[in-house]
């Protein structure tokens, strides 16, 4: 399960389904829960060379948030965010949700200023 963390920390953004397939590709014949480095390395190298699972550009992500904020306030409320994140696509687990909220929203406020949030996630990589 740590494979997901490794792949993502290298800059790739597979969704959960793609990740699942990837793991199946590198896992041992009998699922021991462990992955051998020798098997992982060529697969991962390929992914990096082919630039697979690249994340969408920052601007698109920003647009996505703006769609959820039609009146262009510049922020979303906590409730709105939770609603959208748990509704469709690949939802967050309860734990992920709490963590994301604590990162995105200041402890005193209830609003996420999504521009700042996106900037934080992007800057961090450099």
């Amino acid at each position: 399960r740590e494979i997901g963390t490794i792949i993502r920390s290298l800059g790739c953004c597979p969704n959960e389904g793609e990740l699942h397939d990837l793991i199946a590709e590198v896992e041992e014949e009998e699922p021991t829960g462990y992955i051998r480095f020798e098997k992982f390395l060529p697969v991962m190298t390929n992914i990096l060379v082919e630039k697979r699972y690249r994340p969408i550009p920052e601007e698109i992500l920003l647009q996505a948030f703006e769609v959820l904020d039609p009146t262009k306030r510049g922020y979303l409320s906590k409730e709105e965010l939770i609603k959208y994140m748990t509704e469709e696509g690949e939802p967050f687990s309860q734990e992920e949700m709490e963590e994301m909220l604590s990162a995105a929203i200041g402890p005193e406020s209830n609003f996420i200023h999504y521009r700042d949030y996106i900037t934080m996630m992007v800057i961090d990589e450099n």
Binding site: I6, S9, P14, P55, I56, I60, E88, E96, N126
Partner: protein
């Protein structure tokens, strides 16, 4: 990370608008989180590695003491009483108690907790309330409690056997390391110890944290009140020499300026009388470290555990020529050495090793049993060693502590070994949780985790990771500067063209070999050194923002560096020489110790340099050196700080 080209972007546009945000945002977030987790892992790994290296250095010290004993003759000429002070046994008589405590009076002005003897459960609550208010228990009570505890512990066998029953669960806690907040948090979640709420504390109660003596008082009073319902196992830090290096000695001497020395002396014995382990229902074995392939439980049940004073005091070497009539053929001292106490006051080498193994070993995934080079004592044991041991002794589970785990506990070896660690935020705020285990009837297990948070509310992940990472980098840099000369030499050897630059691979190689730390150097490199556009490393930039403060301008860098690197070892040695705990040692003592130290550690420092340094340290010119001042003078300046740090937590 590069932003991708527009072709992918158009494809995304075709997705429905709502779906976009739902799919992409989680992916982005997960990527972000993964990167944070990797950094956190890197920071924790750095801490753990450096931590273990410090412990390994302790075993070097142990070799040094052996070396001293072998060169005894020379020492004896200079200072006949020195070896006795180091290796002699303290006389074990109880007349000492009355002399010790009888003269102490608790003054009217004392505002701390007052205890009645014999103790009752009220005493425990009074004490805990007082400690919450940061009060200090008077030395009189401390000593009474210590003497009582010593007497009670003498009656205990090496392993305490306890049983579960339907009406009560046994709670098992791991390392506390002087962190009182964690102990109080456990008590508030799980209740105070009592006949209905038994506890097992698995060693390492002291060192590093600031409230070690308070924790001991709580644990010992509970032990005196509840007997078998409060089991205490010895850890590798319940050792007076370890305490000198890791802070407990200092804590006691600063809280108890007048009586600290007495307290330390009695503690030395109490630690040695701590039982080695606990066994629940004849199925679960609880010991601090682990096992080795040669661990013999039978032998361990029968050794005289109180003879193991310190892991750093190796057993006296055998001398075949001077035969001894003692039946068990215990260690015999070399001819000519007159140590106080007789040969039977020491453990045999085999027994000593058995105890080291159970207090210092760590489980690993690799099969077999290997010397624990990281810590310098005990071994790494694999799942096969565990199975064999448990089967042989008809046990089902080994519960141990000794290693910090991010979640407070960890299960390995197919569920046969569990590590439990009870000091949360051990390396740094937010570094890890603490945990305890509750064992119910028929040995069912439940796990509980917690984390002590400071006044500020729990910070988001990225802040915690930043803190862990920057602390780890700091400590790493201090290590680097303490080996500056060696590192530069290593870099220069690889720099054929003398350009001041080497490749990443070469840099990583030098770092790993010189420092002896197995760390992810490439990932860390961005924090430690400057890389140019071609990917080459300008190695001198390693030392740009950090240097060791020179206490004396004229002293050479190499000497300063050496003293800085070995300052922890020197601290222990000085503390040992300074038997009256005055903080002062004589110039002669300093000289003879330093000469031996250099020859053993193969240091090439000219005598005259050290003499000069020592003379300057002897500020009032009375022939004695305040070594605490001496050692404090060697600290590292982090250029980016306003304040300079003299002693980090781990060093």
């Amino acid at each position: 990370m590069k932003v991708q080209d527009s072709s992918k972007a158009t494809r995304r546009d075709r997705l429905s608008i709502d779906n976009k945000s739902c799919i992409d945002h989680p992916n982005w977030y997960r990527g972000y989180r993964a990167r944070l987790k990797t950094r956190q892992h890197c920071g924790m790994y750095t801490f753990f590695n450096i931590d273990s290296c410090i412990e390994a250095a302790s075993s070097q010290l142990s070799n040094f003491f052996s070396f001293m004993l072998e060169n005894y003759v020379h020492i004896q000429e200079k200072d006949p009483t020195l070896v006795n002070r180091l290796f002699g046994c303290a006389p074990q008589d109880d007349r000492g108690r009355q002399e010790c405590i009888g003269i102490i009076e608790v003054p009217e002005s004392y505002s701390g907790p007052r205890l009645q003897f014999p103790l009752n459960t009220n005493s425990l609550t009074i004490m805990i309330e007082a400690f919450k208010k940061q009060q200090i228990l008077h030395a009189y009570y401390v000593l009474e409690i210590l003497f009582e505890t010593k007497e009670a512990m003498k009656q205990m066998p090496n392993f305490t056997h306890i049983r579960t029953c339907p009406t009560k669960e046994i709670t098992i806690c791991g390392d506390l390391h002087g962190k009182l907040e964690d102990l109080l948090l456990i008590f508030s979640k799980n209740g105070l110890p009592s006949g209905y709420n038994p506890y097992v504390f698995n060693g390492d109660f002291v060192d590093r944290g600031k409230y070690s003596i308070e924790i001991l008082m709580i644990l010992f009073v509970s032990f005196l009140l509840f007997g078998d319902d409060l089991c205490l196992n010895r850890g590798n830090h319940e050792d007076f020499l370890m305490n000198m290096r890791y802070g407990f000695t200092k804590e006691v001497l600063s809280k108890y300026k007048i009586h600290g020395k007495k307290i330390l002396q009695v503690l030395e014995e109490v630690f040695a009388w701590l039982p080695l382990g606990t066994i629940i229902d004849d199925e679960i074995l609880i010991m601090h470290g682990g096992i080795s392939e040669s661990t013999d439980l039978n032998l361990l049940h029968h050794i005289e555990r109180n003879k193991m004073k310190s892991v750093l005091m190796p057993p006296v070497p055998m001398d075949k020529d001077s035969g001894t009539e003692t039946k068990k053929n215990k260690g015999h001292v070399p001819r000519g050495v007159k140590l106080s106490g007789s040969p039977s006051d020491y453990l045999t080498k085999h027994e000593w090793e058995q105890v080291i193994d159970i207090l210092w070993s760590d489980p690993r995934g690799k099969r077999g049993c290997y010397p624990n080079t990281c810590r310098g004592g005990g071994c790494y044991f694999g799942p096969d060693v565990t199975s064999k041991f448990l089967n042989k002794n008809r046990l089902k589970l080994l519960i141990r502590s000794h290693e910090c785990k991010p979640e407070g506990y960890e299960i390995c070896h197919d569920g046969k070994v569990i590590t439990v660690f009870s000091a949360s935020n051990y390396y740094e705020e937010g570094s890890n949780r603490g945990a305890y285990i509750k064992v119910g009837f028929c040995t069912t297990l439940r796990f509980f985790q917690y984390q002590v948070t400071k006044a500020t509310c729990l910070r988001p992940l990225h802040q915690r990771v930043n803190t862990i990472e920057s602390s780890a980098i700091r400590i790493l840099k201090e290590r680097m500067v303490s080996r500056k000369t060696d590192l530069i030499r290593s870099f220069q050897l690889q720099d054929r063209t003398k350009s001041g630059k080497i490749s990443m691979g070469q840099w990583a190689f030098s770092m790993e070999n010189t420092l002896g730390l197995n760390l992810p150097w490439r990932t860390l490199s961005s924090h430690l050194v400057l890389t140019d556009d071609d990917g080459n490393i300008d190695y001198m930039t390693c030392f740009h923002d950090i240097h060791i403060q020179k206490p004396v301008k004229e002293a050479q860098s190499a000497l300063i560096e050496t003293l800085y690197r070995y300052r922890s070892d020197l601290q222990i040695i000085f503390n040992v020489i300074d038997s009256d705990h005055s903080g002062l040692i004589s110039m002669e003592e300093f000289h003879s110790m330093w000469k031996l130290f250099c020859s053993h550690y193969n240091l090439h420092i000219g005598d005259s340099q050290v003499d000069e340094l020592a003379e300057r340290m002897d500020l009032n010119k009375d022939g004695s050196i305040d070594f605490n001042e001496f050692l404090k003078a060697f600290y590292v300046i982090h250029q980016l700080d306003n304040l300079s740090r003299s002693n980090t937590q781990l060093a």
